[in-house]
């Protein structure tokens, strides 16, 4: 009788212990499942963000490409094409029986062809992404400003802090934003002076493009949702956001425009 009781209690202990062990094992699996599930969700989210970033980058590259083609087309039409057409016109109207006029026209044509070659070289240099990557952002801006100086603008480039190299893709996007701001000054601002400031701190890069033109159309500066109404400004705003930065524009009619870019250097 006693033996049976003892066997029964032992049986209960063993079954209870086994159950306790099983519950413990079940908990281990449960926590594993929970943890892995969370990890998987986090991973999927990260992948989605990465793919969205890639998509945005691709879109921006396409936009930049389109913008570049437009710039080439304008440059060829407005400058190089004009210069060559004029040279052709001068050569077509050469009069061999008037030696003085002949020499003058040939010299003019030579100068026009030289100007076209110079313009082509400048265009090629400012569009070459490899050279921008190799020379760095500040030097690329400096060369860009040189072109503007040749066109009659008064330009200044001011840098402060230790110039730091960023990822080529990001530097290129930043440069294109600055380039587009400068092109906008030519097209719309009627400005005489352009001042670009690049301020490097330990964590940020502040770039400012300033002109003394007539100021931007207030309608163009209006926001629609969290972006600009104007397509050009919206592109610049989105590109800055894509590299983790901010884009702001301040303009007072008659008092010029200031474009400010702030890029956290760590994010780059």
């Amino acid at each position: 009788m006693y033996r049976e009781e003892s066997a029964e209690s032992l049986r209960q202990i063993i079954i209870g212990g086994t159950l306790a062990f099983l519950v413990l094992a079940g908990f281990v699996i449960f926590f594993l499942v929970m943890y892995l599930n969370r990890k998987r969700k986090h991973y999927i989210e990260k992948e989605k963000m990465r793919s969205a970033y890639q998509e945005e980058l691709l879109r921006t590259q396409l936009e930049i490409q389109e913008q570049t083609l437009k710039t080439i087309s304008e440059e060829i039409h407005d400058n190089i094409g004009q210069a060559l057409s004029l040279a052709k016109l001068k050569l077509n109207t050469l009069k061999y029986d008037q030696p003085d006029l002949l020499v003058e026209k040939i010299n003019d044509s030579r100068e026009l062809v030289s100007k076209a070659i110079r313009d082509l070289r400048d265009l090629s240099r400012s569009l070459n992404t490899d050279s921008i990557a190799s020379m760095g952002l500040v030097r690329a801006i400096e060369l860009e400003l040189e072109l503007f100086r040749k066109s009659g603008f008064e330009t200044t480039l001011y840098t402060e802090g230790e110039i730091r190299k960023m990822e080529p893709q990001q530097e290129l996007i930043l440069f294109r934003i600055v380039q587009e701001s400068l092109n906008n000054i030519i097209k719309h601002a009627e400005a005489r002076t352009i001042r670009v400031t690049a301020l490097y701190t330990a964590t940020e890069l502040d770039v400012q493009v300033e002109d003394d033109g007539k100021g931007a159309d207030p309608e163009q500066l209006d926001m629609e949702g969290n972006s600009f109404k104007s397509l050009g400004l919206r592109n610049m705003y989105n590109r800055a956001r894509m590299i983790g930065g901010t884009f702001t524009i301040h303009s007072v009619p008659g008092n010029g425009t200031i474009i400010k870019l702030n890029i956290p250097i760590n994010k780059i």
Partner: protein, 216 residues
């Protein structure tokens, strides 16, 4: 002999699942499940026949099948690990456990008496090998949907089964020595219930194999 115990139906269900999903299963590392399940069911049926019809001890049969079962799971783990160190542990287990099992049968506990040492050591190592697989899952860089991962379910089954069995096996020698579990009632009760858990997990594992392959 008939009707069969409930846990046998779980084994039959697992075997049927393996047969039905064989076209998909054969393309995976779990293809060895089919012969293994066939072997386990045969052992179960033979053991039952010996016990209920012939009324003879079937301990020797389980002394053969239990080490094979542990070695099979060890082999499956070995083939699913990606870390070299874990593979090495599984490899050592396979070799040492095989040697130990033969030694235990021949020199320590004998062939006709149920080998509790094999059960203790085997269960312990199964818990370790399962935990190693879980560790691999935890440290994987690209997490997969493990609930659809056949090996996750198989490991969960093996882990739960052996955790339960290990606790019993710790007391098994005392119980047998003092004739407290003479018809091995406690063992059967625990073991049979754990078989439900293990084979349910195996069935899910096989079903996942089918689903995964269909998606691929």
């Amino acid at each position: 002999m008939f009707p069969l115990s409930i846990h046998t139906y779980f084994e039959i269900a697992a075997l049927l699942a393996a047969i039905i999903f064989w076209p998909k299963l054969k393309l995976t590392k779990l293809r060895w499940l089919l012969p293994f399940l066939l072997f386990m069911l045969s052992v179960e049926m033979a053991g039952r026949y010996m016990r209920t019809v012939q009324h003879v001890s079937n301990a020797w049969l389980y002394n053969i099948s239990v080490p094979i079962e542990f070695l099979f799971y060890g082999f499956i783990f070995y083939h699913h690990y990606t870390r070299k160190s874990f593979m090495l542990i599984a490899e050592y287990f396979l070799i040492l456990f095989a040697i130990f099992s033969v030694g235990n049968i021949l020199f320590i506990q004998g062939f006709y008496k149920f080998n509790t040492n094999i059960l203790k050591l085997g269960s312990f190592f199964m818990i370790i090998l399962s935990c190693l697989y879980f560790t691999e899952l935890l440290t994987k860089e690209e997490p997969v949907n493990f609930l659809k991962e056949p090996m996750f379910w198989l490991t969960a089954g093996v882990f739960l089964f052996n955790t339960g069995e290990f606790f019993y096996s710790l007391f098994s020698d005392y119980l047998i020595k003092n004739h407290l579990d003479r018809p091995r009632k406690i063992f059967s009760e625990i073991n049979n219930k754990l078989i439900w858990v293990l084979y349910t997990c195996i069935v899910i594992s096989i079903l996942c194999t089918g689903k995964n392959r269909q998606r691929a």
